[in-house]
Structures are given as structure tokens and as C-alpha cells.
């Protein structure tokens, strides 16, 4: 075979034609779409309510009250908790790329309660022997910013219902002396643990310079697309 490209083009066309046409949208999609749209709209409404309440509070603190005010009964935002290690199941989705591993840290809410994540996580690397590896971190944009997609509803707060997944854009370079099965600890900026991930050997990047720290490029929490 002189050039496999033409063969591949033909093969892909033929294989693609094995897929039968879709004559209507499956009812399973319709059933799943409705609640999601309603939920996203509710999240936007809650976010808008929070903005209005905060803005109103700011105005009240600037103005001198002329008469005693009373609570107008604005409902508080829906109660949510911050997502913790007990609710989140973390996985790495990394690919090899020029001496590094890049992709995402995915955090799935396996609990029954709605919870939230916000901001940019801290990630610490522990070598297989339990020692903390030296790292340097770089803040990167979220996937939605890189992809020039619209701002996700509610962002920078990411609200996770049961089964929803948050994503953190992640790239890891230069892992030296961490063994074949190191651990990543993901936490909020205040140090509260979010998840610990045992890294498979194929997700550990090669050692490019033992005298240099590992470099982690970390994006903010964002909803998984």
C-alpha cells in the first residue's frame, strides 16, 4: 500500500455509512432535556436573585434609612452545600502530549444532595512513598474560555446535582521521583479537600529534568460539557 490516506478516507466513509439515519429524536432525549432546561433556568434565576439581593444590600448600606425597613420576604437561594470528598468521585482524563499529560480532572457528584464548587482548586502531588513532590503551578483558562463558548450558567459557581460532573482543565509536566502510582490531592484554595486521585502509571508524565519541579497548569472549576 503506497499511501494509506486514500484507503483510510474510503474506509471511514464506508464505515460511517453503516450508521442508519435518524428519523426522529428519541423520546429518551426529550425526557432528559426538559428537566435540564428547567434546572439551568432555575440556576440562572437563583444567580440573578443573589445579584439583586447583594446589590440591594449594598445600596441600603450606602443610603441612610428614612424609615424602618422590613424584610420583603425575598426567598434565600436554594440551600446547597459545598462539594466534599464524601460526595465527589474524581477521575483523570489525560492524554500524552509532548512530554506532558494534558486533559482534565473530572469530579462527579455521587451524593444525593446538590452541592457547589467555586474558584480554582489547588493540586498537590504526593509521590508513591507518600512524600510531597515539589511543584510549580500556573493558572490557565477554563475550557469554555479557550473554546470561546458562552459563560456557563451560574459560573464561577458550579452547581452539581446528583450525577453531574465538574471539570478542571489540567496539564502536568515533568514528574520525577514520584513512582509509578502517585496521588493528586485536589482542594479548594482554603485547603478544604475536594478529592484524592490515585494516578495510573500511564497518566504520569515523563521526567524531563530531575532538578526542576513538576509543573501543573490548572484551570478553574467549570461544568463538564
Amino acid at each position: 500500500m503506497n499511501d494509506v490516506r486514500d484507503e483510510i478516507r474510503e474506509l471511514l466513509r464506508d464505515k460511517a455509512n453503516e450508521v442508519p439515519p435518524h428519523l426522529e429524536m428519541p423520546t429518551s432525549v426529550t425526557k432528559r432535556v426538559g428537566p435540564r432546561i428547567v434546572r439551568n433556568a432555575a440556576m440562572l434565576a437563583v444567580a440573578a436573585a443573589v445579584v439583586i439581593v447583594v446589590a440591594g444590600a449594598g445600596l441600603r448600606s450606602v443610603k441612610e434609612p428614612t424609615e424602618q425597613s422590613f424584610d420583603t420576604g425575598t426567598p434565600p437561594p436554594a440551600t446547597t452545600t459545598t462539594c466534599g470528598t464524601d460526595a465527589l468521585q474524581a477521575t483523570l482524563a489525560l492524554e500524552g502530549a509532548a512530554g506532558s499529560r494534558e486533559g482534565s480532572i473530572d469530579l462527579r457528584n455521587t451524593g444525593a444532595a446538590r452541592c457547589t464548587l467555586e474558584g480554582r482548586p489547588k493540586v498537590v502531588v504526593f509521590a508513591e512513598d507518600g512524600s510531597q513532590a515539589p511543584i510549580s503551578t500556573v493558572n490557565t483558562d477554563a475550557f469554555w474560555q479557550v473554546d470561546k463558548m458562552g459563560t456557563p450558567g451560574g459560573w464561577p459557581v458550579v452547581t452539581l446535582d446528583e450525577g453531574d460532573t465538574a471539570t478542571v482543565r489540567f496539564r502536568w509536566s515533568n514528574a520525577c521521583d514520584v513512582g509509578t502510582s502517585p496521588t493528586l490531592r485536589v482542594s479548594r484554595q482554603d485547603g478544604t479537600a475536594v478529592a484524592e486521585i490515585r494516578v495510573e502509571s500511564f497518566d504520569v508524565p515523563p521526567c524531563n529534568g530531575p532538578d526542576q519541579p513538576s509543573t501543573l497548569e490548572i484551570g478553574p472549576f467549570e461544568p463538564s460539557v
Binding site: 500500500m1 494509506v4 490516506r5 484507503e7 483510510i8 478516507r9 474506509l11 471511514l12 466513509r13 464506508d14 464505515k15 460511517a16 455509512n17 453503516e18 450508521v19 439515519p21 435518524h22 428519523l23 426522529e24 429524536m25 428519541p26 429518551s28 432525549v29 426529550t30 432528559r32 432535556v33 426538559g34 435540564r36 432546561i37 428547567v38 434546572r39 439551568n40 477521575t91 483523570l92 482524563a93 492524554e95 500524552g96 502530549a97 509532548a98 494534558e102 486533559g103 473530572d106 475550557f143 479557550v146 473554546d147 470561546k148 463558548m149 458562552g150 459563560t151 456557563p152 450558567g153 495510573e200 500511564f202 460539557v225
Partner: protein, 181 residues
Amino acid sequence: LGRDGEMLSARAEGATTASGGRLADLYLRYADGATRLAYLLTGDRQLAEDIVQDAFVKLAGRLAHLRDPNAFDAYLRRTVVNLSRSYWRRQKVERSYLKRERAAMGGEPLTPPSSIEDRESLWAAMARLPDRQRAAIVLRFYEDLSEADVAEILRCRPGTVKSLVSRGLEAMRQEIRGAER
């Protein structure tokens, strides 16, 4: 594509029922192409159907917030690739686990099935490519996307796409030469 913009604008204004109707229009328009792409990326038709349904459900919740609603097909393609990557990731973990289990039990290592027909050996060779090489080849040779467009989807530099395609083609050539011997 202007029609998509109208559809999505209407969706932003409408109720969920109306949105469902618009989504159904988009589904009929794009589901075939998306399913073919998912099938070429995963090699599994049923999985491809599931991935596309998941993709539509995910995008349905964000239609009103898309910065460029005319680019629905690009968002869908990107989502299909991402969901396929999640599948690859699970497969990789499962394969690694099975390999360890078999080694612990003293079993034979898993070997890929041999193929007889050239066409099938090519398809099998593609299935054995690393996921990013496979995605780069499918997006370049099936979707006919530019290196820059593929790079945006795979979140890498255009030069990396060139390298992924080149390495993928070379690996397939070697597989085919091996099968011909």
C-alpha cells in the same frame, strides 16, 4: 447555518416544550453526522448512539448561552469528541485492570484479534491507535477539518495535530505490513 441561529434565539425565548421542538429540528439535522463521527471514534454503534444522545442533552441545557449559536454543529462535534474521550479513558482503566488481573492469575496476555481482509485489518489497526491519534485521523480524513480546527477540538497546537496524524498513519502502515506478511 443562519437557520440555526433563528432556532436557538427562539429557544432562548420559548418555553421548554417549544425548545424541545427546536431541539428535535436540530437533532434531525445533525444527529446522523454526529453519530457517524462517534462511531468512527469509538468503533461501537450502540455506544455512538448513546454518546450523541448524551451530547444533545448536555447542549440542550446550554443552547441559550452559546456565544455563537450559529456554530451549533461545532459545539456538537466538540462535545461528541469529549464524550468519546471519556469512553476511551474508561476503556483504558478497564484494560489496565484486566491486564493486572490476568497477570496475577498467570493467564496469557490479551492479544488483539487477527484480521484477514485488508479493509478489516485497517479498521482493526485504527481501533488500536492511541485515542488522540485516532481522533486526529478521523477529524482530518472524515470530517475534512483543517489542522487548526482539529487542534482547537483536541486542545493542542496545529503542529501537534500534524504529528498525531503522521504517527497514526505510520502505525497503521506498519500494522498492515505486518498483516500482509
